[in-house]
Amino acid sequence: MSEHLIHHKTYNFPDQSGHFGPFGGIFVGETLMPALEALNRQYDHLKNDPAFWAEFDYDLAHYVGRPSPLYFAERLTKLGGGARIFLKREDLNHTGAHKINNTIGQALLARAMGKTRIIAETGAGQHGVATATIAARMGLECHVFMGVDDIQRQSANVFRMKMLGANVVGVTSGSRTLKDAMNEALRDWATNVDNTYYIIGTVAGPHPYPMLVRDFQSVIGREVKQQSMKQLGRLPDSLVACVGGGSNAIGLFYPFIDDKEVRMIGVEAGGLGLETGKHAAPLSAGHPGVLHGNRTYLMNDADGQILETHSVSAGLDYPGVGPEHSWLKDLHRAEYTAVTDEEALAAFRTLTRSEGIIPALESSHAVAHALKLAPTLPHDHIMVVNLSGRGDKDLHTVAAIDNIKL
């Protein structure tokens, strides 16, 4: 059994039909059902093939630059005044975020399935860039769906994708953001299902996506476990990660699920505040429902219509969340909370000034909560914060908030 597939004693999800308790599953039109079955079969086969994981590991080491360091943030820890804060440096990966871990795994799947055309959805553009990157490297045709509002907000990433040879398709339907880009990608997939592989960027979507994206991202938590043992002689006491769809958080949490003494905390985008309704925090303030192929906590109105979300961070601006997070919440194995735009921006500045690390606005949410929590914890408490991405892409957003024109 490959070390890539973690078998927990007390937790074995999803089940055969792709469910995490009441969550997950496959809720798509019939045209896509056979494609998902084929993907499931292919992954089932490849995950037991050591050569597949050997290639995955090789690419992560030589192309992405893994393992990413587990870094002791000494000055940040002093500012917190309590727990020792360590940063898992996913921001140092090639393309600047954890997203590449998943696109490498899925591109290998696409190749094994003989698909020549790759599609992806993107919000902030990080997953789009990671997909365009891997498509360029493997010589595959690539189309990235992106809401026209996000295209405006994230013009630098749009340019990067185009440089990499991807076709960026503007989506004008609905709220013209990430959720609508995902709808459009599903439509494209149904139309071009014979030659197309859809690389979903997070642990959401229909089964088997939440499972396979988790397995690819679990490299984060596996490394943290090893690094923590080696550097500190024991496991961390708590793990903190931001949650939009939740792929970086699952990647960190999943290998620790059986280690009950390790606290796991997911931080959602509280936007202007949960009480204002202008946020993107379905686990903190939503209800279970069905969207984009799975049952999970969602932000919807009393009639079941999906609500528009708000977050300063485009990567967290999504009304749903991966179904496994919904299950971990209901199992009380992980805790979920939210921080506001303002708190995330403050953490963005604090980390930049104290450590010389400019975090992505998404990751800044995790840092913000860590800074709230640290002072309440003893000095020997080891807290690992997933620094899921770097903030270069957000400089325009932060400058605009400061009324600075770049």
Partner: protein, 270 residues
């Protein structure tokens, strides 16, 4: 006998095929939708698929997406769609109505509440495009017990084992999606539809409807030769999209606006 089964039995007795228009409820508003339902029947529709809106219609093409956006802009809800059906039934007891849409509004209302309210309003069947039979184990028995038919989609990509499982869960009719893609696509291939329908016939005695890509009298007539029912959506929605947000259209005006259905009826009956 249910209204849907009765409808197909009667048509068969007369050697005719069913014409099933789809329209998005609440586009341009609920009053006009009610008028349109009567106009469609007057133009020769045998059964009506009434779409209830969902904010994220990921299996629909741009024409129906826009219709749904117009409907949601008018604050149409699943409950207001059921009210349209109730009003329709006050003067039409005969034409079956199938509600079509996505699962989340139904989840939100609660399965039992939905089934009870749908039956009370006079709904005959339900087609949820993003709920494959595998996920229907909770909802399916509730709908059946309430007396609602459960209609599922079969696609060109469906394997034989899937077709078998889908047909076992289906009642009323089976909806064959004529092409790979979303609603309103344009690459209808009648020959391959015929081949797939023949395959499907070996798995079910239910009537077979065909939809996606049927846009005019000619394609409706071609499909009527090989299927039991012809479903038309986007082509009709394009005509409805020309209407203003008014609630004083006369039946005659709405009949003229949906004359496409009369043309299809004529072509199918020839």
């Amino acid at each position: 006998m249910s209204r849907i089964t009765n409808c197909f039995t009667e048509l068969k007795r007369h050697g005719k095929k069913a014409l099933i228009p789809y329209l998005t409820a609440g586009d341009p508003n609920v009053a006009t939708t009610l008028g349109l339902m009567h106009a469609l029947v007057a133009n020769g529709a045998d059964l009506i698929e009434l779409g209830f809106p969902f904010s994220d219609p990921s299996a629909d093409g741009p024409v129906i997406q826009r219709a749904i956006e117009r409907s949601l802009a008018k604050k149409t809800t699943l409950r207001s769609v059921l009210e349209i059906v109730r009003l329709f039934r006050t003067t039409n007891q005969q034409t079956p109505v199938v509600l079509m849409g996505y699962l989340n509004p139904v989840e939100c209302m609660g399965y039992q509440n939905f089934a009870d309210a749908a039956v009370a309003a006079g709904v005959d069947g339900v087609l949820l495009v993003d709920m494959p039979p595998e996920e229907g184990h909770d909802l399916q028995p509730i709908m059946r017990n309430a007396g609602l038919e459960t209609i599922y989609l079969v696609a060109p990509t469906s394997s034989l084992s899937r077709i078998d499982a889908i047909c076992k869960q289906s009642s009323g009719y089976v909806y064959y999606v004529s092409l790979k893609g979303v609603t309103g696509a344009s690459h209808l291939d009648v020959e391959s539809v015929a081949t797939n329908l023949a395959r499907l016939r070996q798995h079910t005695a239910l009537p077979l409807g065909v939809g996606f890509g049927i846009r005019d009298a000619d394609s409706a007539a071609q499909i009527a030769k090989i299927a039991d029912a012809v479903v038309v959506g986007s082509a009709l929605i394009n005509r409805i999209a020309e209407l203003d947000d008014r609630d004083d259209y006369t039946l005659a005006q709405l009949e003229r606006q949906t004359s496409l259905i009369a043309d299809m009826r004529k072509a199918m009956d020839q």
